[in-house]
């Protein structure tokens, strides 16, 4: 009997797995076992499945009808507008972040005077918008009685900074961009919320506040995220600013999200 067979027997033996000491200590993929110098087939395929989910999340197209239906289902009654960035397709979007920050030239948005605009941006995970945008928006609106909120804007091939020209065109005092974050191996559907006071093109990342990893049940829940965002919105309106001047909240963009 080889060492490897022996290890498998030990692992399946009643009374516990000695390698569990390592596995229980971390979410990292420790003590996977070996097939020669490689990974056992089951572990290799587990890894591929996680990577495939992350890759598919990046390359899924934003389904506007699906988001509208979800918004209606969540009781959100705001009008929904759609815009596109200057990135015509996913491949261009991934290689030209500058284009994802600018509105397509023919974009028309109705100007007004609003306290807040909400932009639902596909970002690097449209799946996150499909699954978590409606629930988050409903929870946020519940917490903002008396705020005038612009029509919702669904943005295709969009980076966080696309919220700047959108917010400016709508005449919003503050813009919040709900954006699909770069998928991780175990989190393909994470939604990020980025708050910018006085949106206009040229705002720096340091002028934004971020709530990351909205992804119930594994990440932040809608109510919890909406509580934090509502508090930030109140503070931002009072202060007339956002970003590093607003305390106690992360302000840095995760890699690739900007």
């Amino acid at each position: 009997m080889t060492d490897r067979d022996g290890a498998e027997m030990a692992i399946s033996a009643p009374g516990g797995d000695p390698w569990a000491v390592l596995r229980d200590a971390t979410r990292a993929r420790v003590a996977l076992g070996r097939a020669g110098d490689g990974l056992p087939t089951s572990r290799e395929l587990e890894f591929r499945a996680a990577h495939a989910a992350a890759r598919d999340a990046v390359h899924t197209a934003l389904d506007a009808d699906r988001v509208r239906t979800a918004l209606t289902g969540a009781g959100v009654g705001l009008d929904v507008l759609e815009v596109h960035s200057q990135a015509p397709d996913r491949a261009t979007y991934l290689q030209r972040p500058d284009l994802g920050r600018r509105l397509a030239p023919d974009t028309e948005l109705p100007g007004g005077a609003y306290d807040l605009a909400l932009v639902l941006a596909d970002g690097l995970s449209p799946r996150a918008v499909h699954e978590h945008a409606a629930g988050t928006v409903a929870a946020v609106l519940d917490r903002l009685p008396g705020w005038s909120v612009a029509p919702l804007v669904l943005a295709h091939q969009a980076r966080v900074a696309l919220g700047d020209p959108v917010g400016e065109a709508l005449g919003a005092g503050i813009v919040v961009v709900l954006v699909g974050e770069r998928p991780g191996l175990s989190s393909a559907d994470s939604l990020g919320l980025y708050l910018t006071h006085g949106p206009r093109p040229g705002r720096a990342d340091s002028e934004r506040n971020c709530i990351s990893n909205v992804r119930p049940p594994h990440g932040l829940g809608y109510a919890q995220a909406a509580d934090t965002l509502a508090a930030l919105l109140q503070a931002s309106r009072q202060l007339g600013a956002s970003g590093v001047v607003l305390k106690d909240e992360g302000t840095s963009l995760p890699p690739g999200a900007g």
């Binding site: 000491v21 200590a25 971390t26 993929r29 572990r43 290689q95 175990s186 690739g256």
Partner: protein, 470 residues
């Protein structure tokens, strides 16, 4: 600015400056398109390569791509250039230099190639790499020798070391320890046990340094630790008496890029002196560790030179010009980390990994590679296999390895511990000699010197697992 032209297939191509030639001669990559400097057609790219091949190497000493007066990296490069070391190739053009390198590599004349390092500037090395194919980059790097040491010796022929990267999203001591033990059981960690801290604070850095130092001391492992905190944090940890083996910094190829990383050359000098004073080496005294990566200057809008934007690969080589000034133990490019706007797919990442390895080594650096990718890049395990095996053939000093390829703190994929085993096995490579002896002492090697798979009951496994129990 000297305008240069060539005629190719009946069409005349004109390039407005040396910077322009370097950029347009670069094999295709998304970052150069983003910066607006890439060749506009395949024919223009090859025309630029023709022009570049005819540029005398000595031209790079008199035509800097980033200004001498504005940029301390340029000053460092030109002020420390060694004319004596340059002599053997001083009269050659870029194209002739490629031929010279391939001839010396075929003769296995390691001394001739390795002796050039201080006579070459980053721009010369970037230039020659642009007219070399992937196999050329492998063939010459394989015959370039750079050996460094602290408590293990790195860069010896026939060896492939690894950095064991036991990152944890909250720097949890038990979680970090579990990943360290898993790596050691797979024969990883001979280059360094190096942690990216989740929080860059002196207290956290000291706690992690003490944790790794305790593991290294407990099992008397001939390797070194590093917490990849900001250099100012490491300076404070040293002041507080923490066990600092290596000073770490991310470096870029321009002064503005380094400002973006919050570092200055003076700081690095001071930190290196501090680490040297601790005298923690046994087999050598290389006490710095640097990470780089194509695109870092562009992402900080720090990629501008005397004639507009400089291509990302030339700037990457200039980062090596910074690193070599501080006699590092380890340097690695984090090749697929930065994202598809700089390197779009497997082809670009493989090419860049081989370029970075070759260029760093030729400039005299103990070069490793973080063979890695993010989920929004078009790269997968097949691509990283290709790059890893090519790097193994090229004599790469070390690679990065994390449990199961999944870095649960930085959210990207690097190599797994088993990938390192595979590369060693396929290419007949062994760990660093001191670490290999330790593995043998722990009964972790079979009769062929290959890392055995242990049962949990094996004495080495029991001994190491004991450290994981609270």
């Amino acid at each position: 600015m000297t305008v240069r032209r060539t005629t190719l297939g009946g069409h005349t191509h004109e390039f407005r400056s040396l910077t322009d030639v370097l950029a347009k001669a670069t094999p295709a990559r998304s970052g150069d398109v983003l910066a607006g400097v890439a060749a506009e057609s395949q024919a223009q790219r090859v025309a630029a390569q023709h022009v570049l091949a005819d540029v005398p190497l000595a031209t790079f000493l008199t035509e800097p791509v980033v200004g001498y007066d504005e940029d301390d990296v340029t000053r460092l490069i030109l002020d420390t250039h060694d004319p004596a070391a340059f002599t053997p190739v001083a009269s050659l053009t870029v194209g002739e230099f490629r031929d010279w390198l391939l001839a010396r590599a075929a003769e296995r004349d390691e001394a001739a190639i390795s002796g050039l390092a201080r006579g070459l500037t980053p721009e010369m090395v970037a230039a020659v790499s642009k007219v070399m194919r992937n196999a050329d980059l492998v063939a010459v790097a394989r015959r370039t020798r750079v050996v460094t040491g602290l408590r293990s010796t790195l860069g010896l022929p026939g060896r492939l070391a690894s950095r064991l990267q036991p990152n944890h999203p909250t720097d949890d001591a038990v979680g970090v320890t579990a990943s360290i033990l898993d790596g050691l059981l797979h024969g990883s960690g001979d280059a360094v046990i190096g942690i990216n801290p989740a929080t860059d604070s002196p207290a956290q850095t000291i706690a992690l340094l003490e944790l790794v130092d305790a593991v290294i001391s407990r099992y008397e492992i001939p390797t070194q630790s590093c917490v990849l905190a900001h250099v100012t944090t490491t300076l404070r940890a040293m002041e507080a008496g923490a066990p600092v083996d290596l000073v770490f910094a991310s470096v870029a190829g321009t002064q503005a890029g380094n400002r973006g990383f919050g570092i200055t050359l003076d700081q690095l000098t001071e930190a290196r002196a501090g680490a040297l004073e601790l005298g923690r080496g046994t087999v050598g005294s290389n006490v710095t560790y640097f990470e780089t990566g194509q695109g870092s200057a562009l992402s900080a809008d720090a990629h501008h030179g005397v004639d507009g934007p400089v291509d990302q690969q030339t700037l990457e080589c200039r980062a090596y010009g910074v690193a070599r000034h501080f006699d590092p133990l380890l340097v690695n490019t984090v090749v697929g980390f930065i994202g598809p706007e700089y390197l779009y797919d497997g082809k670009q990442v493989i090419r860049a990994g081989l370029e970075d390895h070759f260029c760093g080594k030729l400039l005299g650096l103990p070069m490793g590679v973080d063979v890695c990718y993010t989920n929004h890049t078009d790269v997968d395990g097949d691509d990283t296999d290709v790059l890893t095996l090519l790097l193994g053939a090229a004599g790469c000093a070390f690679v990065i390895a994390v449990p199961g390829s999944d870095d649960v703190m930085l959210h990207y994929q690097s190599l797994s511990f088993t990938d390192v085993l595979t590369a060693r096995s396929v290419l007949d490579l062994r760990p660093a000699p001191e670490f290999e002896a330790w593995l043998a002492m722990m009964d972790l090697l079979d009769d062929d010197g290959h890392v055995r798979e242990l049962t949990p009951e094996a004495p080495a496994a029991r001994a190491l697992l004991a450290a994981a129990r609270p």
